[in-house]
């Protein structure tokens, strides 16, 4: 449950969906299915682009406003990276099933929580992107997200990547940022009190995680230096996951 654990992912875990992925990192496990492009319902139909439908389902209890909020954030970000104009009048459906969330051993959790939960965002985001890639849905670019908290520690403020539930509890502010593989900022949501300086630090930390410059420099080549400060290298992670999938798919080549 510490930030240093490496993410794990598997693609094509659901045999009947067009694309699927299971992803676990920092105590969160999420399974996603992608179906599409399929026929959209009349009310979702858009004459020039595909409608991206995101559904987030909690592990226990019924989804509430918290899930609706996460869905709307994901929906707008994914619409940006999917080439929606390629599939007018259709629907691309992403269903995210949360399987596991890190438990706070010091509190007995309530089933329905109204508070926002930014810490789960990176897991949801990564799973959706992996499932979309597994389904072969055409995209403008890949993307990765990360959660960063500003936690007071011994009077000073410390920036924590992938905070645990306990750290979120004491954090002054929590941020979620996502970057595309072209290093564009795709998503930034913040909660709590923070200064512009703090936000800049957060931004830098997140960017370092989501788009390690090494991989762009060397083109297709893989660089595997895991032990860099600040957390996992999401871009490498995506690439290596996909590589194994593609190699397996095209074993006959």
């Amino acid at each position: 449950m510490t930030a240093s654990t490496l993410p794990e992912a598997a693609l094509g875990v659901l045999p009947r969906a067009d694309g699927s992925a299971k992803y676990s990192h920092a105590g969160y496990t999420v399974t996603a299915s992608v179906n599409g492009p399929i026929e959209a319902q009349r009310r979702d139909e858009h004459p020039y682009e595909a409608h991206v439908d995101v559904i987030v389902r909690p592990a226990a209890g019924v989804g509430g406003t918290r899930e609706r909020h996460l869905e709307s954030i994901l929906q707008s970000s994914l619409t940006q990276i999917i080439l929606v104009k390629n599939f007018p009048r259709s629907l691309i459906q992403v269903v995210l099933q949360v399987e596991d969330t890190p438990e706070n051993d010091y509190v007995n959790t309530k089933l329905v929580q109204a508070s926002l939960n930014f810490a789960i965002m990176p897991a949801l985001f990564q799973t959706s992107v992996l499932a979309l890639l597994s389904a072969g849905v055409p995209m403008r670019a890949t993307a990765a997200a990360t959660a960063v908290a500003v936690v007071p520690e011994d009077g000073a403020k410390k920036i924590v990547v992938d905070p645990s539930p306990r750290q979120i509890e004491i954090a002054q502010s929590v941020h979620v940022l996502a970057f595309t593989s072209q290093e564009e900022l795709l998503l930034a949501e913040s909660e709590g009190d923070f200064t512009v300086k703090e936000w800049d630090d957060v931004y830098e930390t997140a960017q370092k995680i989501c788009c390690r410059p090494a991989s762009t420099k060397e083109g297709m080549e893989m660089v595997l230096d895991e032990e860099d400060a600040g957390g996992p290298d999401m871009r490498h992670f995506l690439r290596s996951t996909l590589e194994s999938k593609v190699t397996a798919d095209l074993h006959w080549k």
Binding site: L14, T31, Q97, Y106
Partner: protein, 293 residues
């Protein structure tokens, strides 16, 4: 909502014709289940069941709440089955389909009404505080026979589940966090399992177990029998469909009983394996000893 695609006439005819020759598309015997797999999560009360391409995840959870006024001495126990579009794009959020209602009723009758969980043991303070146990059933992939898989997952999740320990001292109720005291298992009375027969042919004369989705679309009727290993029927549901000879139904029940015993033994084994895995270095024993103090 896009409609569920129906099998073509060729598929319907072929499935039936093959069954008349005692052949199933995946080469199974008529009374043979697909390989059943069960994995428990890192947390207590998470059971992931796969049956061929069907995959169901059940998660049990507990919270302290107020009991219903008409049953002050009972805890609350609910099974939630909502089929998400992950199961199939034909399912819509918040609009229960007939399939969903029937699955939910079957699980309710099999597990809840048969008294598998002792709800009285969930009572903490009569009329004021009790445990509410909830099982969420998530169907991740649907390739037929959801009912048997879901029922197995629910029973497995509940037997694996641990709820926080509590104590009553001087009228003060304390609920211990997992860090303070190791959680305790539920008071479980018996383990019922669903076994679903599907019928084919003009007079429902061909019966088979564990139908795939295609077989389910072609069948003319089905009968779900819930039993525990003690030979007690918890529920039978043949809800219409082509009429089947009464004698054949009795035979189906007898076969179902032996399957239920198999399931029961399989689950016991898996639970034991999991307990062993968690108990590395006798940590559990140490913790429970701590609890005793």
């Amino acid at each position: 909502m896009p409609r569920e695609a129906e099998p073509s006439l060729n598929e319907r005819e072929f499935v039936l014709k093959a069954l008349q020759e005692n052949t199933r598309l995946d080469g199974r015997e008529l009374d043979q289940y697909r390989p059943l797999e069960l994995t428990f999560g890192d947390q207590y009360g998470v059971a992931d069941v796969t049956l061929g391409k069907t995959r169901v995840l059940a998660k049990a959870s507990a919270e302290v709440t107020v009991p219903y006024t008409d049953r002050p001495l009972d805890g609350i126990f609910n099974i939630a089955t909502e089929l998400s579009p992950m199961t199939s794009p034909a399912f819509e959020v918040n609009r229960p389909t007939e399939t969903e209602v029937l699955i939910s009723r079957l699980l309710e009758k099999t597990v809840r009404r048969s008294g598998a969980l002792d709800t009285e043991s969930l009572c903490l303070v009569a009329g004021q505080k009790c445990w509410s146990i909830r099982v969420d059933v998530h169907v991740l992939s649907h390739d037929g026979n959801l009912i048997d898989a879901a029922c197995f997952a629910v029973v497995a999740a509940l037997r694996h589940f641990r709820k926080p320990d509590t104590s009553m001292e001087g009228g003060v109720l304390t609920v211990y966090t997992p860090a303070e005291r190791e959680p305790v298992p539920l008071s479980w009375l018996h383990s019922p399992f669903c076994i679903t027969w599907s019928f084919f042919g003009e007079e429902g004369e061909i019966a088979l177990l564990d139908a795939t989705w295609l077989e389910e679309q072609v069948r003319v009727g089905s009968c779900t029998i819930s039993l525990n290993k003690h030979g007690e029927i918890c529920q039978i549901a043949k809800l219409g469909g082509t009429p089947v000879e009464a004698v054949a139904l009795l035979q189906c029940t007898n076969v179902a009983l032996s399957r239920a015993k198999d399931f029961s033994a399989f689950l016991d084994r898996k639970l034991a394996e999991d307990a062993k895995r968690r108990d590395k270095g006798g940590l559990l024993a140490e913790l429970s000893a701590e609890n005793d103090r």
